[in-house]
């Protein structure tokens, strides 16, 4: 009997020792420990709390990829506390925005506003940043509902970037149709433009010479093979170059806009809400 009690004591001591060892500060181990608790748990509410714990833990460590994954496991309906719920929706919205899942970000943001009527500049800023990436109508509609701080007006640039179009595109194409290579030169690609002029001019001259020498079959074959291919190919190249030019200008606008927003975010920082 005495030995049985001693053994029991030893078992308890080892148990305590192992539990203490497991209480590792290491991030990965803590995540694993929570997952083990989730596995052992049979209560959905408790499981949900543990999912949230994992979600928040990964946010603290700035492990955003994992945060987004863990986010999909958390269910808002299991929360009884409204503060926890609103913090969760806020964080969910922010992390979805950070991993470029803007549709989800909007859903969580709308859910957040459904729980709390937050009219702070930070909340407005997050909303505008999310809606601006969706489409201009939802952005404008959302903007109408706000009593907007004037500092936030510069976010308009974000919603206008996807709609940027190069002016007089048809002019470039017509220039290419009239003088092959001219349209390409006008887009800024001088080498390809002049290359087109030389190739098309040279092949036309060659075909003309064949005709003069009465080599009619060759004239037909080379004329058919070269001239339409180079002529229409040049027009296609101009269209491609125009697309690239448009993308380049759009990228420049995006960089300028990003700088403006960065300044704004320094003034009104948007942070995760981690109460623990």
């Amino acid at each position: 009997m005495k030995w049985l009690i001693t053994s029991l004591l030893v078992f308890i001591c080892i148990n305590a020792l192992v539990a203490q060892t497991n209480e590792d500060t290491n991030y990965e181990n803590s995540m694993l420990k929570i997952e083990q608790e989730i596995f052992m748990s049979e209560n959905d509410t408790l499981k949900n709390e543990l999912y949230l714990k994992k979600f928040n833990g990964s946010l603290k460590e700035k492990d955003f990829k994992r945060s987004y994954f863990e986010l999909s496991r958390v269910r808002g309906r299991y929360f009884n506390d409204s503060v926890t719920l609103q913090d969760f929706y806020w964080n969910a919205s922010l992390i979805s925005k950070l991993v470029n899942k803007v549709d989800y970000a909007e859903t969580y943001y709308d859910a957040y506003l459904g729980v709390v009527k937050d009219s702070s500049v930070n909340a407005q800023l997050l909303g505008l940043l999310i809606k601006a990436e969706l489409d201009s109508s939802s952005y404008n509609e959302f903007k109408k509902t706000l009593t907007l701080d004037t500092a936030l007006n510069c976010i308009d640039c974000l919603s206008s970037i996807p709609y940027y179009r190069l002016k007089n595109k048809l002019g470039y194409i017509w220039a290419s149709r009239l003088v092959p290579g001219l349209g390409t030169v006008l887009t800024g690609d001088i080498y390809n433009g002049f290359g087109s002029v030389i190739i098309l001019g040279g092949s036309s001259y060659g075909v003309y010479n064949l005709f003069l020498n009465k080599v009619y079959f060759s004239t037909g074959i080379w004329g058919y093979l070269f001239i339409p291919r180079f002529y229409f190919g040049n027009i296609r190249m101009t269209k491609y170059k125009l697309q690239k030019l448009e993308e380049k200008r759009r990228a420049k606008l995006a960089i300028d806009c990003e700088l403006t927003i960065k300044e704004l975010l320094i003034k009104y920082p948007i942070d995760f809400r981690l109460s623990e």
Binding site: F69, R73, V215
Partner: protein
């Protein structure tokens, strides 16, 4: 006696903490928690000498398609070859990745394991694609279609394709099963041939334009012959890989790692 009893108690207590929970691992796999899975396996040190640790690590490598590590582990510890479902799963997946690596797994099994893979569909199929004399009767009907397709191209000779392409440009393509390319090849060669003929007829063979057109025609003519021979080789490899992929798919369907 008392000391012995105490040591036994101690060992029972310690060993209760060094057990790997397969149910928990299954949970991690189902939830796609790869990082946690890795952390869990690494939380058991190798020195604890848990038999199943190596086995679960092996499965983890297979799950994450680290086939090289998997093969290294198997060759170091061939005891794992006793698990037939693991072998079926691994050969099916290995074959989709590399034919050579699959062969080395089969070899490891024959040398150190129970030679379980000797009668497997994969080994028979690998032999079948290399030996024309073997019968394909063992193949199920769904795989037979793919094998017949492979066999059709396997029996074609590159030199026959080359000769046909030399005699009539495009005929070689028709022979190797690229019927759609026949007319294109024939027309291109006919046109370039005609320009060469016309220029030689008009200006003589030594004229630069004649040399150019003859050169272009020769380049197209020869590349058509070379293309036919090269294409046939490529098709043969493609069909072989396709057949083996289908075998691998057939073999691994319905077999789960966890």
């Amino acid at each position: 006696m008392r000391i012995k009893l105490f040591i036994v108690c101690l060992m029972v207590c310690v060993s209760s903490y060094s057990q790997i929970s397969s149910a928990f691992i299954k949970h991690l796999v189902v939830c796609d928690l790869n990082t946690e899975h890795n952390s869990y396996l690494n939380s058991f040190s190798d020195s604890t000498n848990i038999d199943s640790l190596g086995y679960f690590k092996l499965k983890f490598n297979l799950l994450n398609r680290k086939y090289d590590v998997f093969l290294d582990n198997v060759s170091v510890n061939p005891d794992f070859l006793n698990d037939s479902s693991l072998l079926d799963y691994s050969t099916g997946h290995l074959l989709k990745w590399s034919i050579l690596k699959t062969k080395s797994l089969i070899q490891i099994d024959s040398l150190f394991g129970r030679n379980y893979l000797n009668n497997s569909l994969i080994k028979k199929s690998l032999l079948l694609v290399e030996d024309k004399t073997l019968s394909a009767d063992f193949l199920p009907s769904s795989l037979r279609i793919h094998f017949d397709e492979f066999e059709k191209t396997r029996n074609k000779k590159a030199w026959v394709g080359g000769v046909l392409a030399t005699v009539l440009p495009g005929a070689g393509k028709l022979y190797i099963g690229r019927g759609k390319s026949f007319l294109g090849s024939l027309m291109v060669n006919a046109f370039y041939g005609a320009t060469a003929y016309e220029s030689i007829h008009k200006f003589g063979i030594k004229n630069p334009y004649s040399i150019l057109t003859t050169g272009v025609f020769s380049a197209f003519y020869l590349s058509n012959i070379y293309g036919t021979v090269f294409d046939l080789k490529r098709i043969k490899i493609e069909k072989k890989k396709h057949f083996l992929y289908e075998v691998a798919d057939y073999q691994s369907s319905g077999i789960y790692l966890y």
